[in-house]
Symmetry: C2
DNA sequence: TTACAAAATGGGAATGTTCCCGCAAAATGG
DNA sequence: CCATTTTGCGGGAACATTCCCATTTTGTAA
């Protein structure tokens, strides 16, 4: 079904030289006469030669490829991280293969297998919200393939991680709400399986404590990040005897959905209820009222993850370092917490 | 640096059988005693064995992997197509590797080389807006590797294509604007390099002709899809002696940006100027006024592209068929053309 | 010119797997 | 119970390339 693949042997035969020489010319590293090299390269181009990475990686035990596994593609967050990561990887001479897990554990496991089977030299991963078992990641460690987590990290694995300061971001968000005079701040929290959720929750709690605001468990709603459920929870919050005057959402999609629900109900934002998100998705500046949120250095996250990965790849397994880089977030104040001056 | 890889030979040795038998057990196709097979599979799991796809594809000349190349990740369009494509590919037993070209020709060429080097069994592609030379795609044809275009297709190559009916969509958009009483409809067109742009332009032109509206070249602005430039063009249009009362934008990001610019200027949408986009990105329903646009069956596009690819892969090169599937768009009418009844 | 080093090339093993072929063992039929 | 078929398994070639070692060619200094 497939036509004959052009190999270095074909080139060698065409030029009357050996395959070793062709190989040397093509990899261009050592002891090769410039004219020979030129002739080989020209012939290769002429014959539509394409090197077979499988054969190369079979013998070199290296693929010059790094894998990226993300939970989803729908928010602008992960695509932007990928752009940063891809740029950094390309600059270092690595190819990138990407796969997305659709927020499901089974797909994530399958994706790790694809990466393993493709013999990637390393991977960077952000987990799905479902992932509770980490065996499929631990295989990489056992095999000596570096793995770096970003954003949604696996706490129990001693590997490099790139995160933003979720605690600090949440803390800033809540203090900002308090500074605008809000007293009852609800939190639409993420699932406990993600350490990010827990950290944001802790930032929320500590900001309240520091400002002597009593914590009301009723106002804290952990949910599974399924956008459709936001409506239920927001309605529930608003029907409390003592409803909140602000909502801090665990991420931007949730906050956006919250705004839509509240607008439909007819409450004024931010006068009746203020809203803060997390991540500064593109849409946050577009929606009305525009969303106050914490901007994350997304491309930097991707770059940093790759940098840590490359560092790890250049070390011996025995010399691996499980550094954790924490990047800062910036509070972007918009009209969902401070009424427009217009 | 890398630890020893577990091979079928290790398993064979551990069980005191031959590598051929292990291979048979693992691929599970023919003439193998059930107990032997079980023992092999168990031992493989116990030893953390991972098959080496490179060795397999080297000999089988097949990788069970299809490649996806898209121009960008930032709009929700391509990520959604990928979700559909990935689902279809997985269902057929194929892995997927994704790469994004950042809308630059050079990256696209590099991406095709990664795909070739990885010996993918086929690729689906949507081109960058810069791509004018198609040699890097023609290589696939010459090598007998099926290629399917979607959305942004290469007209001069006789290969399968999946598109939406751009002409029809544009036609519907313009007729809708006319039906709301608009008379001077401008078109923020895409670059001529993309046939999609040309088709949308033709739909626009024919809808005007059919309704006896004179065509004013002044109102047609082809641009390169760089969002930052929208502001310049919109301002230019509004400063014309005889400014437009509606703008049909070539895609949603452009339309969204147009809305933002016009809102800043202070004109009323749709009363002073109506706006229509193309694709129905998520953000289109969120922005105020919400955007009238043409929804595309995004996931279906991905599925269809993979279906055509698989069909092609199951044929002999001599039997390839260059079918073109055209999917319909739906006009979604929102407040950017019809004032809210509230 | 000779001797020797350096540069350029060739040959063959190795990478991990599948596939083909051959052989032994088990199963089947008369 | 023997002949024949089927089933299960082992051995070795093949895939495309790199790498090591050996060999040839070229260059340089005495």
């Amino acid at each position: 079904m497939k036509s004959h693949q052009i190999t270095i042997i074909d080139i060698a035969r065409a030029l009357g030289i050996s395959k070793s020489t062709v190989s040397r010319a093509l990899t261009g590293n050592v002891n090769i006469k410039p004219e020979t090299m030129e002739a080989v390269i020209e012939m290769a181009k002429k014959m539509d030669y394409q090197r077979n990475l499988h054969a190369i990686s079979l013998i070199t035990r290296k693929t010059n490829t790094v894998g990226i596994i993300v939970p989803e593609f729908l928010s602008s967050y992960f695509p932007k991280v990928i752009i940063g990561a891809q740029a950094a990887a390309t600059a270092a001479g690595y190819h990138v293969i990407i796969s997305q897990s659709n927020e499901t554990y089974a797909t994530e496991v399958a994706n790790t297998q694809v990466m393993l089977a493709n013999q990637v030299d390393g991977i960077i991963v952000s987990m799905t919200k479902e992932t509770l078992n980490y065996d499929h990641f631990k295989i990489f460690q056992r095999k000596g393939i570096p793995i770096v987590f970003f954003n949604r990290v696996c706490e129990e694995m001693a590997v490099p991680k790139v995160m933003v300061d979720d605690y600090d971001g949440a803390f800033k968000a809540v203090e900002h709400l308090l500074s605008t005079g809000k007293k009852r701040i609800a939190h639409l929290a993420g699932p406990n399986s993600l350490s990010m959720s827990v950290k944001r929750l802790n930032g929320y709690l500590d900001a309240l404590k520091k400002n002597n605001i009593p914590i009301d468990e009723e106002l804290i709603i952990p949910y599974d990040l399924t956008i459709g459920k936001v409506k239920i929870y927001v309605n529930h919050l608003l029907q409390l005897k003592n409803p909140p005057d602000a909502i801090f959402a665990v991420n931007d999609p949730t906050a956006i959905e919250t705004i839509l629900v509240i607008k439909k109900i007819g409450l004024r934002i931010p006068q009746d209820i203020a809203i803060v998100g997390f991540s500064n998705d593109y849409i946050s500046s577009i929606i009305e009222p525009s969303l106050t949120t914490l901007s994350q250095p997304v491309e930097k996250i991707g770059e940093t993850a790759i940098a840590l990965l490359l560092d790890q790849m250049n070390r011996n397994v025995s010399d691996w370092k499980a550094v954790t880089k924490v990047l800062k977030t910036d509070l972007v104040i918009r009209n969902s917490t401070v009424a427009s001056s217009l």
